[in-house]
């Protein structure tokens, strides 16, 4: 379908394939489409209620000979309608099918959309709009390239005036009172497959290259879930053996309940899509990869078939393009390739994302029944990394020179806590750490005159460190200047001397640390710090250094 590019324009095909990431191969029977779902997390508590309505449009024939006729859009729509209307499966309250020529004109489709809009909608209602036919790109009134759906009466030379602008279709859906809106577009807009581009657009695309090409619809849709029969850059295909668009065939198949992977009794939009995606990919031997994009994730309340009978198994999923091709491993076992979702047994599960033998991310999560966890959000935290680390520290603090340790104050065993904010300053280049440590001990001074003198000593240090940090895998290094307020006290309870002596200073220093990450959250760190100060001893001021060495256990969040 998208495929029937005129043989006299091979450069268009090349341009579409290479530069424009258009729908893939140019051959009869290929198609493109997308599905969009509205989500509202605030209403998820009562998410699975409401009526289901569908508007299915299949356009086989076109008035303008520039658009080649297609074979199965009508049948696709009818087949999908049948399963959606089936009380044992979709249970849709209403299913409107537009396949006849008089119904698939621009005016006819707009009228059907207006009728849909006029219905009294409950926010919990599900609405599915499915369109199968040609798509194209054309300039709008402002001169910008827009996507258009080709209606039966759309003229190749006047797409803007006679086609159905995608933006208009989206806006029509936005006006519906339902918050669970699904848009399936079995079209593409790249000049291949079901798409045919006007010469002026082809010329512009050639000049502007792919970067200017409007991104896939799903990436422009806010708070939407988009299911596509083929990925951006691939062709959707019809298949005579199946008698359908391939993706639609398996999508319809999914709604009979077999796609209910989490066994909650219902088939959600993403479950149906994942089922159709896997089987389409297998059936086409990898040439067509249905895709899905979710820009608002965390739940999928759009049920297309069945009814919830029990809390489903927990699911993890990702439909993010950036995770495409990654393999999800659960407890070390392959659970499937992304994009997609999998249902897992509840409990602690070790999830990992692998690609090419490399581990991108790994974490242990607690999965509860009915829960849906988006890998994207978990990975986002991993990629950006936890910003804060709280740590418990154990270490020693003391004078750097042996003489001072021997005659003034011995090393003090310190315990403390710290907080470190990663990338807090200078455009996330510098970390800021605050630490507080205190300690005490009972040791002895060793004086040349005085001998061994027992002393009780205490120290409190409050420091602020600013500096960069780097990470290489699990290994991290941080360093930077610091300022510390240091309070020290030594007490003598002797026969002839019962006295406390105190010293307080605020002085700059330097810190350096090496850390080793244990999983995503926990980190071990060894830190050293230097602090210079002037310390009055016996009436004379000594310039001395303090040194500290710490071992820390930290939690990142």
């Amino acid at each position: 379908m998208c495929a029937l590019i005129r043989s006299g324009l091979p450069w268009v095909l090349w341009l579409a394939l290479v530069s424009l990431s258009a729908c893939g191969g140019v051959r009869a029977g290929e198609k493109g489409k997308a599905v969009k779902v509205r989500l509202d997390p605030a209403r998820l508590a009562s998410a699975h209620e409401g009526e289901r309505h569908a508007l299915l449009i299949g356009i086989d024939q076109y008035d303008d000979d520039s658009w080649n006729d297609l074979r199965y859009p009508g049948k696709d729509a009818e087949d999908l309608a049948r399963v959606l209307a089936d009380p044992r499966r979709g249970g849709f309250r209403s299913v409107t099918v537009l396949t006849r020529p008089e119904q698939t004109t621009r005016a006819g489709v707009l009228e059907a959309l207006r009728a849909l809009e006029a219905r009294a909608w409950n926010p919990r209602d599900v609405v599915v709009v499915y369109v199968s036919g040609h798509g194209t790109l054309a300039r709008d009134a402002r001169g910008e390239l827009q996507r258009y759906l080709v209606m039966r009466d759309t003229r190749f030379r006047d797409v803007q005036g006679t086609g159905l602008e995608m933006a208009a279709l989206e806006q029509a859906l936005e006006r519906l009172g339902s918050l669970r809106r699904v848009l399936v577009l079995a079209t593409c807009h790249s000049g291949t497959g079901k798409s045919l581009l006007p010469p002026s657009v082809r010329s512009e695309l050639e000049r502007t290259k792919a970067a200017f090409l409007p991104r896939p619809l799903e990436e422009d849709s806010r708070a939407s879930l988009v299911l596509s029969a083929s990925d951006w850059g691939e062709a959707a295909r019809e298949d005579d053996a199946l008698g359908n668009d391939i993706y639609t065939h398996f999508f319809v198949q999914a709604l009979d309940g077999r796609a209910d992977r989490n066994r909650d009794g219902a088939v959600s939009a993403t479950e149906a899509h994942d089922w159709a995606r896997r089987h389409t990919w297998t059936y086409t031997q990898g040439r067509q990869r249905p895709s899905v994009r979710m820009t608002e994730v965390g739940a999928d309340p759009v049920l297309l078939s069945g009814a919830l009978s029990q809390p489903g198994q927990p699911e993890v999923f990702s439909y993010s393009p950036r995770l495409e091709g990654f393999t999800l491993k659960v407890d070390g076992v392959d659970a499937g390739e992304l994009p997609g979702g999998v249902a897992l047994p509840e409990g602690n599960r070790r999830l990992g994302l692998h690609k090419g033998g490399e581990l991108l991310w790994e974490d242990t999560v607690v999965l509860k029944p009915g829960e849906r966890r988006a890998l994207d959000s978990m990975l986002r935290e991993h990629t950006e990394g936890p910003r804060r680390t709280v740590s418990l520290d154990l270490g020693v603090l003391g004078f750097l020179d042996a003489r001072s340790r021997r005659e003034v104050l011995p090393r003090t065993l310190m315990t403390g806590a710290g907080v470190r904010w990663r990338g807090l300053l200078l455009e996330q280049r510098l970390d800021v750490g605050v630490d507080l440590a205190m300690g005490q001990g009972r040791q002895a001074l060793r004086l040349d005159v005085g001998g061994t003198v027992p002393v009780r000593h205490r120290a409190v240090m409050l420091g602020v460190t600013v500096g960069p940090s780097w990470e290489w895998g699990r290994l991290g290094v941080s360093t930077g200047p610091r300022v510390a307020a240091l309070w020290m006290e030594r007490s003598f309870q002797l026969d002839l001397l019962n006295q406390d002596e105190r010293y307080f200073t605020v002085w700059p220093g330097w810190m350096a640390g090496v850390s080793w990450r244990l999983g995503t959250r926990w980190v071990l760190e060894a830190k050293g710090q230097l602090l210079w100060a002037y310390v009055p001893v016996d009436g004379r001021t000594r310039a001395v250094g303090f040194g500290g060495f710490w071992l820390s256990g930290g939690y990142r969040f």
Binding site: L426, L445, V449, G450, V453, V483, E501, F504, V506, P508
Partner: protein, 200 residues
């Protein structure tokens, strides 16, 4: 990197110049006290001093107890004069800012050195004096008639005797004595400059 203008830099700078207060003083840790008891002490004459620190000296109580304060907290020798005939030297290691007890000191019979002072012309010098260095035996006058002085009791050991007289050169003699020994020492002073005519 850009020049940071964050307020925290100012804060750090202010903290850095805050400086310090307080400090440590080890002075009181350099001295200690030594206490003990002298057996059969003659309260009228008994005293305890630190050898080499003759200004550190104390008497004894009626039961012979003593406490010597301000003793350097290093190895020292106590010079103990128990009676008119008995004396002892006791090595102790005082501890800083603490009191150590050396226990009972049973001083043995001391040695006596009888100094016979003469001028090189055979006469008895005027205002002759003897000092046992590092001990409280200081500025002991020589009998102007006989030129003799009996110094003691001294614990067994070696001493430096410094002998001086008017219009005579000072002279030092090292003498080692044993317990209970009576020793006679003849010292001949040469007429000449009286170094300082003082009693050092």
């Amino acid at each position: 990197m850009r020049a940071p203008r964050q307020p925290w830099l100012l804060g750090m700078a202010l903290l850095a110049v805050t400086g310090a207060c307080g400090g440590f003083n080890n002075g009181p840790l350099g001295e200690g006290s030594v206490r003990g008891r002298i057996l059969d002490a003659d309260v009228d004459v008994a005293w305890v001093s630190v050898f080499g620190e003759s200004e550190l000296m104390t008497g004894v109580s009626s039961d012979g107890r003593f406490e010597l304060e301000g003793v350097p907290a290093r190895t020292v020798e106590l010079f103990v004069l128990a009676s008119r005939t008995r004396a002892a030297r006791v090595q102790v290691v005082p501890r800083g800012a603490r009191i150590i007890d050396v226990g009972d000191i049973d001083a043995p019979p001391g040695a006596f050195i009888t100094v016979q002072l003469r001028s090189d012309d055979g006469s008895v010098p005027e205002e002759g004096e003897v000092e046992v260095e590092d001990t409280p035996f200081d500025d002991l006058p020589v009998d102007p008639a006989t030129g003799e002085l009996r110094v003691g009791p001294l614990p067994a050991g070696c001493y430096v005797l410094e002998v001086d007289a008017k219009e005579h050169a000072q002279k030092e003699e090292q003498v080692c004595v044993r317990e209970g020994e009576e020793r006679r020492l003849e010292v001949v002073l040469s007429r000449g400059d009286d170094d300082d005519g003082d009693d050092d």
